[in-house]
Subunit: 344 residues, 2 copies
């Protein structure tokens, strides 16, 4: 970006779109028509269409001080695909709208789109449309993801039943401590610009916040093993908040075992360094984009085959409420401490 700077105005609106979509290859057989017309046409071959939409705003959802644009593009796609996964569906297409101020160069936008296309390629998803506008201030990103699922096979938040096992993929809390670390390094840098951050041994947790991965692998694995979750959600706001969504929408309660919550060593160590309870990072941290789901007890034998899935509790009657059973054997009421976008 230091070597060359092409002004967006020099391409014009349509030139910019041509430029940004010049490497856009479609992979889905069902993509009848992609970028370059008024809309995209998708043939779903008798499958059901799943669609989800998310917006990312500069200063609210990301800080360009420590978010490389390529990672931002990747993440903008990834978090939307994660919503499709949370339905037990397979993502197939996205549309992308962006608003950019004139402080962005074409090269900067290229970096962003490199990340977008990398995520599309990684997850076999077609970018089939969207809109590019100028914005007065700040970078604005809006993604809509489309997915498919066999008729009736989608998984909602409302199907959990008493005695179901509560399962989660991967590990939790990493994105939260990764964000704390980036925020700390930003403060140090602002106070003392000569100091280079030492993040080498923190690759895992930084990857968790900057480059989340939607768990399409878990969805495929569940389909292969013919395990149909009764309820499912992806973890964007934190384990407790998401679990409470399932409980509320299913009309059930739950018991969560603190000692079963999967955490990476790097997450645990970083939490201790920050003097935060690691469990709190998992419960309230958010942005891990793992899948949280419940299954019938009979499915337990199948689930244990996956190293990527942990059983962390069970569903109860609604009357019993939602609780965390601590390592010490104490029962704590579970509260949603997930991020509230509108609190000061």
């Amino acid at each position: 970006m230091d070597e060359q700077r092409t002004e967006i105005a020099s391409l014009g609106e349509f030139g910019l779109i041509d430029h940004l979509t010049r490497n856009n290859e479609t992979m889905q057989a069902g993509t009848m028509l992609s970028v370059g017309d008024d809309a995209a046409v998708i043939d779903q071959f008798g499958k059901q269409t799943v669609i989800s939409s998310d917006m990312l705003l500069e200063g609210i959802h990301f800080d360009l001080a420590y978010t490389p644009l390529k990672h931002l593009g990747y993440k903008a796609v990834a978090v939307n695909l994660s919503d499709i996964c949370a339905m037990g569906a397979t993502p197939t297409h996205i549309t992308l709208n962006i608003g950019i101020s004139n402080r962005f160069s074409v090269e900067a936008l290229d970096e962003f789109y490199e990340g977008v296309y990398a995520a599309c390629a990684r997850y076999n998803v077609d970018l089939v449309g969207g809109d590019t506008s100028s914005s007065q201030k700040g970078f604005v990103i809006s993604v809509t993801a489309i997915g498919e699922v066999s008729p009736g096979e989608y998984v909602t938040r409302s199907g959990a039943q008493k005695n179901d096992l509560i399962c989660v993929s991967g590990d939790l809390g990493g994105a939260y401590v990764g964000l704390q670390l980036l925020e700390r390094e930003k403060r140090i840098f602002l106070e003392n610009p000569g100091v280079q951050p030492t993040l080498q041994d923190k690759a895992y947790i930084i990857g968790r916040i900057l480059k989340p991965e939607p768990r399409t692998d878990i969805v495929s694995w569940l389909q292969e093993k013919e395990i149909k979750p009764r309820a499912m959600i992806d973890i964007s706001d934190g384990l407790s908040s998401e679990l409470l969504h399932i409980c509320k929408q299913s009309g059930v309660g739950c018991v969560l075992h603190e000692d079963k919550i999967p955490m990476h060593n790097e997450t645990r160590e970083m939490a201790f360094e920050f003097n935060i309870d690691p469990t709190l990072c998992a419960l309230s941290g958010g942005e891990d984009y793992e899948l949280l789901f419940t299954i019938a007890q009979e499915e337990y034998e199948k689930i244990v085959l996956s190293e990527q899935i942990s059983v962390i509790g069970y569903i109860t009657d609604a009357a019993e409420g939602a609780h965390l059973l601590s390592r010490q054997g104490n029962k704590h009421k579970l509260t949603a401490q997930g991020w509230n976008a509108f609190e000061a």
Copy 2:
């Protein structure tokens, strides 16, 4: 809005979404799952899915000084449905993402959503998802529209053939002069806040800019009469810009007859008052959201049955270029003077 002000923070993120979607009724039989889960599920019954996405940013696409929020909500939906119409498809669903700063009250948002739901109801479209975020500055709107069309029946920009007739629905230029009028009244108001604008006899052109209507009626009519346009586009950037899109993507040229361009009397009068050539308003004004399409000459007998459709020219070989034939019989080269979002 003067009587009551509910702070968004008082509802919380999920409370706000519940509040905003409380009157959201689904109408499509194919809506298996709507707002309230990670994604929406749509059954298309063997039809093809059409999807289009657009972003509207405060200060760029709209000015809240003279845009009532209800109209803004209506328009945000309408312009996306217009893209679906431009494919010859029938809109069925939308998703809506918004970013709002804390200067908005719940009542203000309600007004916006009133317009959104009014457009959905008017066009029998379901709002099936989306995201509500806080923004640091400015109101941000992103809509994705989904539509359906029988397999293979969608209309692109690239099918125009030599000797095709060029047709347009409704009339043109009204939105442009309407916008000029609102801008003038805003300037007068800012200079002299005591002066009330006199817009009573300007209802048509103000409606054109503030409350555009997607031409689903034209799409239905064409289907009924079994007229399949060869190329189609909706007029968001102005007639000349859109016609040049069709010519470029179809590899053809065109002759446009100035005297055939349909214009409303109020548009013409307002243009004269502003000392602008009315034809220029139609060619370069944009935001009329009418449908521009080409048909084979054999279809002419069917087209003349509609008072809503005008034949305004014909398609030529690419080598002949794109021209406007003026009232005086002079040939002018057609240039795209459509709005360029990135020019200062």
